[in-house]
């Protein structure tokens, strides 16, 4: 899976959870929770969506690492590349 595919998936997942969010104006390095007004339940929904569709389980202790679009994409990419 390419970085672009993952990025497109994460964006779509965020749009499903928070369709009020303006992703085009989002700084990909900024905090998703902060910039898009996501609360912890929204964030959990994103984690579940990534797990369900891409098979990447993200433990609670890693949530800080996926709190930006870039961070999230990089995390998923690394997880998919790692030997199972």
């Amino acid at each position: 899976m390419t970085e672009e595919t993952i990025r497109a998936f994460v964006r779509r997942a965020i749009e499903d959870i928070a369709p009020d969010a303006d992703l085009d104006a989002l700084d990909p390095r900024a905090s998703l929770r902060e910039e898009l007004d996501l609360d912890s339940m929204d964030f959990l929904a994103l984690v579940r969506a990534i797990h369900a569709a891409l098979g990447v389980a993200i433990p609670e202790t890693d949530y800080a690492k996926i709190d930006s679009l870039d961070g999230c994409v990089a995390y998923v990419l690394r997880a998919l590349a790692a030997p199972a």
């Binding site: 928070a18 369709p19 007004d37 609360d39 912890s40 929204d42 609670e60 202790t61 949530y63 800080a64």
Partner: protein
């Protein structure tokens, strides 16, 4: 006993000139160099604010309010994350006999507008970001809102915190305050109608203080962490007032919950007493016991939980993972403070809310022959009721005397919660007597959600229910009926969700919206939310007793 004796027995001082003021009990009477508030910034970094310094800052705030022409009884609202200025606003407003009303920072514009209008907010303390996103467009519809003070940044039509508050004098003596003077306004949700503003008085501090000592084991000098946001009543009664009156060091974390961050705070700040919520505990449990065991939590002396019934498994998990069981307790916005608790030193019954605190008379009541009677037989379900008269009882629902009067009957305050009492006098939560949704420990009124949805051009009718959720207890799910001729589409689904979130904010907006052909109704046309909920859960539709008992603690 004189009033002074009563206060002395309660561990309070009273104002030197007579009366009782929360800010005096919280700050002035012990304005020492002890750290009152240890603020942990989201981005890292910290600030320690001593009791003496917090008194000075609150005095500046009180003087600033006077310079704006505010007088006792005027309402000061705050809409911000957990930053020191929020605490200064609360205490400064209280010392000036203004009414303090906190708003949850994740509210959208509509909940903010309704509360500011209902509470006739004169001053709003907020941040530039919150203001520009949510408040600026509301200004013209809020004629009572004379001043907006920005903690950071600037915006047209707003005052700056540092120029106004920072520059004010820190000389301020609290004027004589009658204990019945309004002090705190907390909005809570009803099944129908707008949110209700429960008004509390300065005299409530007697119960805040005593209950913190009895139910939370708070002692002077403790390091204490209440994780609740002051936007909800727990975060004010036990996240600002009670701990300061006891003289503890309060930990205030600006950031949202993060498991590693929380364990680091518990360990490195050497937290001794911890007050948190079932939702937070469930998140910790999911993250695994090993994370807790890696930490040195030996300083933790007492752990408590409130917001919704704590399941037995969570109580026991606390004992195993943290070395301390969670002590569940029960109270409401209307009660102002803890009423029923598993207290230190008494055996915990996991799953139970505990027993009434000293001075609190609680009972299970039911209607018999048109009157309320107390059910004394153990294990029998009824409505949880309290004998009115405790100090932190609400004194009014703002602008709604009939709704207030309806809470009291035949000498009881009716909580709206169904419960039972066992033979040992412990109370057990059964369910809500109404359709109010409880998500992450916060009450959400279905009416508020439905009103926002029907404002959408495509929506004819809407109903909101609580759907069981493994983490939040319940999430809000909405059912909508579209206007005739409106086509369903994925774009419409998104637009409905976007509309709800923009109006209500993530804390109140539904997490799921289902489009349906029609809503089940009574013959008089009232929507049967209970039936919707039964269908959602796959329960038999006719069996309402099953509905009641299934509320509350879902796995």
């Amino acid at each position: 006993m004189t009033e002074h004796d009563v206060l002395a027995e309660a561990g309070l001082d009273g104002l030197p000139g007579g009366g009782l003021n929360i800010a005096y009990e919280a700050l002035d009477r012990h304005a020492t160099d002890r750290v009152a508030l240890r603020w942990l910034a989201k981005a890292g970094g910290r600030e320690d604010v001593t009791y003496a310094e917090l008194r000075r800052r609150s005095a500046r705030f009180a003087n600033a309010m006077a310079s704006l022409g505010l007088s006792p009884g005027d309402a000061v609202f705050v809409l911000s994350g957990r930053v020191p200025e929020l605490y200064v606003t609360a205490l400064g407003a209280l010392r000036a006999q203004l009414v303090f009303c906190p708003l949850f920072a994740a509210f959208g514009p509509e909940p903010i507008r309704v509360r500011l209008a209902e509470g006739r907010g004169r001053v709003l303390v907020t941040t530039q970001r919150q203001y520009e996103r949510k408040v600026a467009a509301l200004r013209s519809s809020l004629p009572d809102l004379a001043h907006v003070i920005l903690i950071d940044g600037e915006a047209e039509g707003c005052l700056g915190w540092s120029a106004l508050v920072g520059a004010a004098s820190d000389a301020h003596t609290i004027a004589p305050t009658d204990p019945e003077t309004p002090a705190l306004l907390h909005f809570t949700s009803g099944t129908t109608g707008a949110p209700k503003g429960a008004l509390h008085v300065h005299g409530a501090v007697v119960h805040h203080h005593q209950s913190a000592r009895h139910a939370l084991d708070l002692r002077p000098g403790d390091t204490y962490w209440c994780t609740a946001d002051p936007g909800w009543v727990t975060g004010t009664s036990y996240g600002i007032i009670a701990p300061l009156t006891v003289g503890v060091t309060m930990i205030v974390d600006e950031a949202e919950m993060d498991v590693e961050r929380w364990y680091t705070i518990l360990e490195e700040e050497r937290v001794e007493v911890w007050y948190t919520s079932p939702t937070a505990i469930r998140v910790l449990i999911r993250a695994g016991e090993a994370l807790a065991r890696r930490r040195d939590l030996s300083r933790l002396r007492f752990a408590a939980s409130v917001g919704e019934p704590l399941d037995p498994e969570s109580v026991v998990w606390g004992e195993r993972a943290l070395g301390r069981p969670f002590h569940d307790n029960w109270w409401q916005t209307e009660t102002g403070g803890i009423m029923i608790a598993n207290v230190p030193g008494a055996p915990i019954k996991p799953g139970s809310m505990g027993k009434p605190l000293p001075g609190v008379e609680a009972a299970i009541v039911e209607e018999r022959g048109g009157a309320l009677v107390e059910v004394t037989a153990p294990g029998v379900e009824g409505e949880l009721a309290l004998r009115p008269g405790w100090p932190s009882m609400m004194r009014a629902y703002l602008n709604a005397p009939e709704r207030y009067a309806k809470c009291f009957r035949d000498g009881w305050y009716l909580s709206g919660d169904r419960a039972k009492r066992d033979a040992d006098g412990y109370f057990w939560f059964v369910g809500r007597a109404d359709d109010i949704i409880k998500s992450a420990g916060h009450l959400i009124g279905p009416f508020e959600v439905e009103s926002a949805l029907v404002e959408h051009a495509a929506v004819a009718e809407a109903a909101a229910i609580g759907k069981p959720d493994a983490v939040a207890g319940e999430i809000v799910k909405a059912f909508v009926v579209l206007h005739q001729g409106v086509e369903r589409s994925a774009a419409l689904d998104r637009d409905l969700m976007a509309h709800a979130r923009r109006r209500l904010g993530p804390a109140v907006a539904p997490r799921e919206i289902a489009i349906v052909e029609e809503l089940p109704k009574t013959r008089s046309g009232k929507v049967l939310r209970r039936l919707l909920r039964a269908r959602e859960l796959g329960l038999p539709e006719g069996d309402t007793s099953t509905l009641l008992t299934s509320k509350g603690d879902e796995p």
